[in-house]
């Protein structure tokens, strides 16, 4: 579905939802029960209203999701989009503290990791650390990793990649792994071609 059709469909959904919201606001409150009477079963009207509300909630969630995707497409169109991910596969040799990313000598990201976030990466999580736009052509990406290395000493290393940005989205991955023979962590940048 192209961009124009998506905008039209979202507007139509909004137009369809608004009368339903107005009808809900005008619903009369239920009458009070007579004292001593048994609790009546929920009337069919209320059940239908509940289903309507659930349906509307689902529509709102779907609409929100569509809007988010639309926003991403508008801000980071596929032909200029560059996305950077980070993954960790380390145990003994490196505890990540922060990552700084420079593209063409300009700092684009500086991310500080909490213990919880570093733990999530260790457990196999992959984080989208940066999403931006780049022109077609040759670019250089430099990433600096700061943390605690072997023997709990302060550790800072860098990794560089020169890549060609063509037409279409570009995905790069910062990988931190253990280099067991040397008892050192290894930092590399992988191009998802």
């Amino acid at each position: 579905m192209n961009l124009k059709h998506r905008i039209v469909s979202i507007m139509v959904c909004g137009a369809l939802l608004s009368p339903a919201w107005m009808a809900m606001g005008q619903t009369a409150p239920p009458a009070a029960d007579a004292p001593g009477a048994d609790a009546p079963a929920p009337p069919a009207g209320l059940k239908t209203l509940d289903q309507e509300v659930q349906g509307l909630k689902k529509d709102v969630v779907d609409l929100n999701k569509d809007l988010f995707v639309l926003q991403e497409e508008l801000l980071f169109p596929a032909n200029t989009q560059v996305a950077l991910y980070i993954s960790m596969d380390v145990g003994a040799f490196f505890a990540l503290d922060s990552v700084t990313v420079k593209i063409d000598n300009k700092e684009v990201k500086n991310y500080l990791y909490t213990a919880r976030e570093a733990d999530a990466l260790l457990k196999g999580g992959v984080q989208q650390i940066y999403l931006g736009n780049l022109k077609v052509g040759r670019h250089e990406l430099v990433a600096f990793f700061t943390g605690k290395g072997p023997v709990e000493r302060d550790y800072k290393r860098g990794a560089t990649i020169n890549f060609d940005k063509g037409v279409g989205a570009k995905y790069l991955e910062l990988k931190i792994t253990d280099r067991v023979p040397k008892h050192q962590p290894e930092f590399m940048i992988k191009d998802w071609e």
Binding site: S98, L112, Y113, T114, A115, R116, E117
Partner: protein, 167 residues
């Protein structure tokens, strides 16, 4: 002549409108901008990881007298309400990191002190005067904001804190 007077009057009224004190911008009602900073103990803390708890964020400066006076009061609040789910975070905005750390260590408060040497967080939170104290509810919305501090002024925070903890 009449046109000159009319134009002059318009210019004067525009100047008066510009000089009159506008309401200070505030973050109340808006989502608290997320940040991650390094603490005095070396740990990194991220504001959004406290979602679900009531958070008091106090922006302070070592060189500001009100900030120094406020810290013991916040310490007492932290000790009292921590078990009820309140999180107190102190954020130093001093440029001199070394002296700020020395001062924070000397104060010996029980809540985390974080250090911000950049300008982004200050811009995000519309920092204009120190100290500034904000209260963030469990959904991450700024519900209260106060600038400055006078002795006994923490009573106002207590009312707000109790209300948010009850939610």
């Amino acid at each position: 002549m009449r046109n000159t007077l009319l134009v002059g009057g318009l210019v004067l009224s525009a100047a008066l409108a510009a000089s009159s004190p506008a309401a200070a911008p505030t973050m109340v009602g808006k989502e608290a901008p997320d940040f991650a900073l390094r603490g005095l103990d070396g740990r990194n803390l991220r504001l959004s990881e406290f979602r679900g708890q009531v958070v008091l964020v106090n922006f302070w400066s070592r060189s500001d007298g009100d900030s120094r006076q406020q810290m013991p009061a916040l310490d007492r609040i932290n000790i009292t309400y921590q078990r009820a789910g309140l999180v107190v975070l102190g954020v130093s905005v001093d440029d001199d990191l070394r002296r700020s750390k020395e001062f924070a260590a000397a104060m010996g408060v029980s809540y985390p002190i974080l250090f911000d040497t950049g300008t982004k967080i200050g811009r995000d939170y519309l920092l204009q005067k120190m100290p500034m104290t904000i209260l963030v509810d469990r959904s991450g919305i700024v519900r209260y904001s106060a600038v400055g501090f006078k002795s006994g002024g923490e009573r106002v925070y207590l009312d707000q804190i109790r209300e948010l903890l009850r939610e």
